[in-house]
Symmetry: none
Subunit: 262 residues, 2 copies
């Protein structure tokens, strides 16, 4: 067998991953005649790019280990709730609000007060369920092919359903935030839907936990100039926040009164 170039090797790993549903680092090293170190580096890179999920001994495809929204929901829940409380204050009664899929938005939906009247639109089943519990909320579900990873409907049907709507506020989730405040997503279709939702909305709010600042995902969604308000946690890096603020974006720090000033 001829030696493989790095991208070729990673492609083969991806193939094996899809085929077998898992790969072992030791086995791959043997198969490609390279050290386990090299394989581990590959897997680490691929995991950072969202192509697989690193586990002890090898890697799994993105879907298998953590898909469950419930699982994502259970991590950092109190922090997400804190973000939610602040984000809710940005919602104008009787307005039309789009809830993008994501565990933070689920936390927001759950935390809505019972007397807040709202027309809520969402592509995420979990969020729709939470919204259905709120007596003053009319819930509109966006249909389409359900993306396991994103936890909501995406694709042509979803975009089509959105195209007939106008939102007063749009809550957009993000998988990562880059240095200039640019948002990115792991899924191609997911990113497309987010982008489209933004175009249908007069105001865009992004709520992000601090770890989002150290993640970069492959598909760009929006630059800082395209959203109006960013809700972050107290421990977010002030330098990076300042950069984003310069783009004309209002920054709200959760857990500190209601002030946005640094």
């Amino acid at each position: 067998m001829t030696e493989l170039m790095l991208p070729e090797r990673q492609n083969r790993i991806r193939q094996r991953l899809a085929q077998d549903g898992r790969v072992l680092a030791a086995a791959l090293a043997l198969e490609f005649s390279v050290s386990e170190d090299t394989i581990r580096r590959d897997l680490r890179e691929m995991a950072a790019a969202g192509l697989c999920e690193r586990v002890y001994g090898g890697a799994l495809p993105v879907g298998l280990a953590n898909t469950s929204l419930r699982q994502r929901m259970s991590v950092a829940m109190e922090r997400k709730r804190a973000l939610a409380e602040v984000a809710i204050r940005q919602i104008v009664p009787r307005s039309v609000v789009f809830f993008d899929a994501g565990s933070t938005h689920l936390a927001i939906a759950e935390a809505l007060p019972d007397d807040l009247a709202l027309t809520a639109v969402t592509n995420a089943p979990a969020i729709a369920m939470a919204l259905a519990e709120k007596p003053a909320v009319d819930t509109i579900l966006i249909g389409g092919l359900v993306d396991r990873v994103a936890g909501g409907a995406v694709g042509a049907r979803a975009i089509e359903a959105l195209s007939g709507m106008r939102f007063d506020l749009c809550l957009i989730g993000t998988c990562g935030i880059d240095g200039e405040g640019g948002l990115s997503a792991f899924g191609y279709e997911d990113a497309a839907l987010k982008q489209f939702a933004i175009t249908r909305s007069s105001r865009v709010l992004v709520a992000a936990t601090t770890e989002k600042f150290s993640v970069s995902a492959p598909y760009a969604v929006a630059s800082a100039a395209q959203y109006h308000c960013l809700v972050v946690e107290e421990d977010a890096d002030p330098v990076r926040l300042q950069i984003i603020r310069k783009e004309g974006c209002e920054i709200i720090v959760a857990g500190r009164g209601a002030a946005s000033a640094a």
Copy 2:
């Protein structure tokens, strides 16, 4: 069986939880060829993440502090699971199946085996969530205005989305069954959606718990001639079943000879 990686094992445990409604530590240890200690650690972790509830000897699904539909779900849970097991046997692999909203159908979705490949269409967020956990199922969500009572999308948008589809099988819920096997629903729009779904499907299956036979709801959905298969419990009235059978409807009685979980 090959050895499983830690996340894979925990995933399997989660599946067993959803499917069987409980797991025993000792049995899992045997099944996965690891020590009970390891299983106990898994269960402890999962419980800490809110994915299950730890009990003496094993674990139970979390389902205790959940939504109102979950509440309906907990009513007659065992019986619905029994219906579900039978109904699943009517599903042809690789077919396109519509899941109407309803707690019985949620039970069916949760009990689907992992290796059953399927295109599932549903208007119910809760069912969409359950389906998203099944690795071999493509889930299509029907959007529209969410009906709180029915627990799914209804109305013009939902009908429109359905109109472009053809189903191999259609699982229709019912609020009541009259003397001649006619189905009825409490919601006007809900009834309309059920009717329309039936017209899009080559085969229609109804799963009903026994109490449905003593309920009659205001809006007619379908007569016995319009569905092909009725799954009922063991204690359903044989006289009424005979009448429905005469309409050309196959009747399947669940629970005969299967006394599994306690």
